[in-house]
C-alpha cells in the first residue's frame, strides 16, 4: 500500500493527510507539536468562498478576479480559478464536518466584508476562524487514525529529505532526546508553514520557522517569489512579538492618525479619500511607513495611532472585544479612552517552495501546500484566502502525490537513510567544536527584517547581502537535544540570501514588493521569481507564470 509522509499538521497538513487517507493510502503526519499548537489556530478573520448568500451577485469568478488583482497579476490564474471554484463546496463541506461558523438569520454560513473584496464572501467564526477549522479538522484526522489509516507523530522535527537517484524517498527527523529517525515514504508533502524563522517581529508562530523550506531548498527544491512578504499595517508591539490587530478595527470605523502641528492628522483619509483607512494592506503599511520615515511617527517613534475611542462604546468593548482586550492586556491601554499605537509588521509569506498548480515542487517526490508553498496569492494575498489556499492546496497536493508516488524497496531506503543520517552527524560534529554563538539566529532575524523592510532599494539590499555573508554557518549554538537547529541555521542563511537576491533582481514595485529605486510596475517582471540553490550557491531567474512540472 502507498505510504504518504506529511510534514506539518496545520490546516494544509491535516487536509493533505485526510485526503490521502480517503484515497486509500497509509499516511504518517509528522510535526513538532499537536495541531492545536500550529500557526493555523491563530487565524482570526475568516475563510473566503463565494457562497453568494447575501444577494450581492457574488460568483467564483469574481472571487478569482479579486484574488488575481490583489496578487497584481503574478498568481497562476488557472490555479486560482480552480481554488475559487472549489471554495463554496469546500467551506460547506467543512461545516458539515463540524467546523463551527457564524450563521445568519436564515441559518446560512454568515459572510463578512474583508479588505480588497467588494462582496461579502468571508465565512467567519467570531474572531477565531483558525481555531475552529483546526478543531474540526483534527476530529476528522482522529477518526482516520482510529480507522488505522493515519499515524500522527509529534515532537519530531524535520531535518532533511532522504534522496535516491534524484527522488525523495523519505525524510530524517530529530526526536526530543536528540536522536534521529528516518521515515520512508512513497511521497512527501511539505505543509510546514511560512518562513517566520528568518524574520523577527512577525505576527506568526515560532513553530512555523521555515526550517523545512530551507532544507528542501538547499537540497534542490526551487523557491518562488520569496520577495513577496505581506506586512500587516496594524500590529501592536509587545515585548515578545508583534500581535495582529484585526482589520475589523478599521472596518468598524477605526481611524489611523498621527500628530502634525499639534493636531490629529488622518493621513489615510487625506491621501486616499475613497478607500481611506480600508485601503489594501500593502498601501496602508507603506503609508504608515512613509509617515514615520518623514518624522511624523506618533510620540517620535515608528508608530501611528489607531483611534477607536471616538466609536460607540458598544463597538469598542463588544464588537471589537478582542482588540480592546488585547490592548488592555499587552499595552495597558483602554481602547475606549486612548488611541492604540500600531505599527506594520510581517504577517504572511506569499512566496515559498515553487509549486505548479498540482502542488508538485521541483524536487521529485516532494509536494508542498499551505504557507510554505508559493501558490494562489501572487504579489499579495487577500485576507481570508490563505486558510482557503492551505485547505484546498493540501487536498490537491494529496491527490497529486497519491497519483504519482512510486515505491522504493526498504533496502534502498535504509541505505540512503543511513548515509543521510551519517552526513547529518558529521556536519553536526563540526558545529560543536566551534565557537558557540547563542544569538546568531536572533541576529539573522533582525538583519532580514531590516533588509526586507516595507520599502527596499538596491544599496539596502546589497548591504544586507554583505552583512549576511559575514555570518558563519557554524556560528550557531544548538543544545544537544535540538542539535539539528544548527543545520537549520546553515540552511536558513542560504534561504535568507535567496530572499534578498529575489528582491534585488525584481527591479520594479508590485504588490507587497516596493522598491524606492524602481517605483513603477514593469510588464517585463510579470513573471515568477525563481530561486535555485546548487552546492550552496543561489541563482535567480524569472519564469513565465503557471509553469507545470512533469
Amino acid at each position: 500500500m502507498k505510504h504518504i509522509l506529511v510534514v506539518g499538521n496545520g490546516l494544509a497538513g491535516m487536509t493533505a493527510a485526510i485526503r490521502a487517507a480517503e484515497l486509500g493510502c497509509n499516511v504518517t503526519v509528522v510535526s513538532k507539536s499537536e495541531p492545536a499548537r500550529s500557526q493555523s489556530v491563530m487565524a482570526g478573520g475568516g475563510i473566503n468562498a463565494a457562497l453568494n448568500t447575501k444577494g450581492e451577485n457574488d460568483s467564483v469568478l469574481s472571487h478569482a478576479e479579486d484574488t488575481i488583482k490583489a496578487g497584481v497579476y503574478l498568481a497562476d490564474e488557472k490555479a486560482v480559478e480552480e481554488m475559487t471554484s472549489s471554495a463554496p463546496s469546500l467551506v460547506e463541506g467543512l461545516a458539515k464536518r463540524g467546523v463551527v461558523f457564524d450563521r445568519d438569520g436564515d441559518g446560512n454560513i454568515d459572510l463578512r466584508n474583508f479588505g480588497g473584496q467588494k462582496k461579502k464572501r468571508t465565512a467567519y467564526a467570531k474572531s477565531g476562524i483558525g481555531k475552529q477549522l483546526v478543531s474540526g479538522l483534527s476530529s476528522e484526522l482522529r477518526r482516520k487514525e482510529a480507522e488505522g489509516r493515519v499515524v500522527s507523530r509529534i515532537s519530531l522535527r524535520f531535518v532533511s529529505p532522504v534522496m535516491h537517484e534524484g527522488r525523495c524517498i523519505g525524510a530524517v527527523f530529530q526526536k526530543d532526546d536528540g536522536s534521529f529517525e528516518a521515515i520512508k515514504a512513497d511521497a512527501v508533502i511539505a505543509a510546514s508553514g511560512g518562513m517566520g524563522g528568518i524574520f523577527d517581529r512577525h505576527t506568526g508562530s515560532a513553530l512555523s520557522d521555515g526550517s523545512v523550506t530551507a532544507s528542501l531548498f538547499v537540497k534542490g527544491a526551487e523557491a518562488a517569489n520569496l520577495e513577496m512578504i505581506q506586512y500587516h499595517p496594524t500590529t501592536i508591539e509587545t515585548p515578545a512579538k508583534n500581535i495582529l490587530v484585526t482589520e475589523a478595527a478599521r472596518g468598524e470605523g477605526g481611524r489611523l492618525f498621527t500628530m502634525r502641528d499639534g493636531k490629529r492628522w488622518y493621513f489615510m483619509e487625506e491621501w486616499y479619500p475613497e478607500g481611506k483607512n480600508l485601503m489594501p494592506r500593502d498601501i496602508v503599511s507603506r503609508s504608515i511607513h512613509k509617515v514615520c520615515m518623514d518624522g511624523f511617527g506618533l510620540d517620535g517613534k515608528y508608530q501611528v495611532g489607531l483611534e477607536l475611542e471616538t466609536l460607540p462604546k458598544d463597538t469598542v468593548y463588544k464588537k471589537l472585544m478582542e482588540v480592546s482586550e488585547l490592548s488592555k492586556k499587552y499595552l495597558g491601554i483602554d481602547a475606549g479612552k486612548e488611541p492604540i499605537p500600531v505599527v506594520p509588521a510581517i504577517h504572511y509569506f506569499m512566496g515559498g517552495l515553487y509549486v505548479d498548480r498540482f502542488h508538485r515542487t521541483t524536487l521529485k517526490g516532494v509536494y508542498a501546500a499551505g504557507e510554505c508553498a508559493c501558490q494562489y496569492h501572487g504579489a499579495n494575498r487577500l485576507g481570508g484566502n490563505s486558510t482557503l489556499g492551505a485547505i484546498y492546496g493540501g487536498r490537491v497536493a494529496a491527490e497529486t502525490a497519491v497519483k504519482e508516488c512510486e515505491s522504493v524497496s526498504l533496502d534502498v531506503f535504509e541505505r540512503a537513510a543511513e548515509i543521510e543520517v551519517s552526513n547529518i552527524i558529521d556536519k553536526l560534529s563540526l558545529h560543536r567544536e566551534i565557537n558557540r554563538e547563542v544569538n546568531a539566529v536572533k541576529k539573522l532575524k533582525r538583519l532580514m527584517t531590516d533588509t526586507m523592510s516595507i520599502i527596499r532599494f538596491e544599496e539596502g539590499l546589497k548591504a544586507g547581502l554583505e552583512e549576511l555573508a559575514g555570518f558563519s554557518p557554524r556560528d550557531v549554538y544548538a543544545p544537544k537535544n535540538s542539535s539539528a537547529d544548527a543545520l537549520h541555521f546553515e540552511n536558513k542563511l542560504i534561504l535568507a540570501r535567496a530572499v534578498i537576491l529575489s528582491a534585488l533582481e525584481r527591479r520594479e514595485s508590485r504588490g507587497s514588493h516596493a522598491r524606492s529605486d524602481y517605483p513603477d510596475m514593469s510588464d517585463e517582471f510579470r513573471k515568477t521569481t525563481v530561486a535555485c540553490c546548487k552546492n550552496g550557491e543561489v541563482s535567480i531567474r524569472f519564469d513565465s507564470i503557471g509553469r507545470e512540472f512533469a
Partner: protein, 229 residues
Amino acid sequence: MKGTISVKRNSRWAKFSIDAEANTPVTMILDELNSRETLLEADGSPAEPIVWECSCDQGVCGSCAMVINGSPRLACSAFFGEVGPDVKVEPLSKFPLVADLKVDRSSISKSLSEMKIWLEDDDALVSDVDMQYTSASCMLCGCCLEVCPNYSGEGKFFGAVGMNACFRTAEQLSGSAKRERLSYFAKHGDAGCSKSLACQVVCPAKIPLSVVISRLNRERFLSVFYRNK
C-alpha cells in the same frame, strides 16, 4: 524591575537572576535566559538552556502551559509585573516529563480518541453556535487537569478537557452516535467528577465548564429517558 526566576529542572530548582519590565511575559523571560552568552544560575553555577514549549506567544495555542507560582497558566500571558519579582515555574505535573518545562501531553489525544471525538458522517448539526464555538476553543493545554482533584493521568476519568470535547461532539451528532458520546461522558467524565469546578477557574480559554457539564447531564438524562419510553 529586578527579580529571580526559579525553574524546576528534573525535580531540582534552578534559580536565575533577572531584570525585566513589568509587561514582560514569562515566555520572554525564559527566552532571555537562553539568549545569554553563558547561562549561570544565581549562585554562579553554569546551566544548560531551558527547554519549554512556545508557539503563538499570544495565548491561543496552549503550548506554554506550565505551573507558575503554584497555578497552571499560560506563560505567554503571565507578566512579570504580576507574577514577579520572584517567579517560580515548574512543568505541569500530570503528564510525563520530557525535559525542564516540557511535558508530553499525548494522553489528552489518547483520551479524545477513546471517546471517539469525531463525527460519524458529514452532517454536523448546527444548534447553539455560541456554545459550540466556545467549546471548540479548547486549547488542549491541560491546565484543567493540573488542578483537578480527581485526575491522575491513569484510569478512566479524563477530566474537563475530555468532557468539553464530548460536549462539542455530542452537540453535533444525533441518534445512536450521540448516545454513544453521552455514554462516554458518563463513563469518563461524570462518574469521576466531583463538580468542584477548579478547572473552570484556571481554564485560559474561559470555557464555562459548569455549563458544559450540566448540559451534558441534561442531554444524557433526556437520551436515556426517551430511549426507555
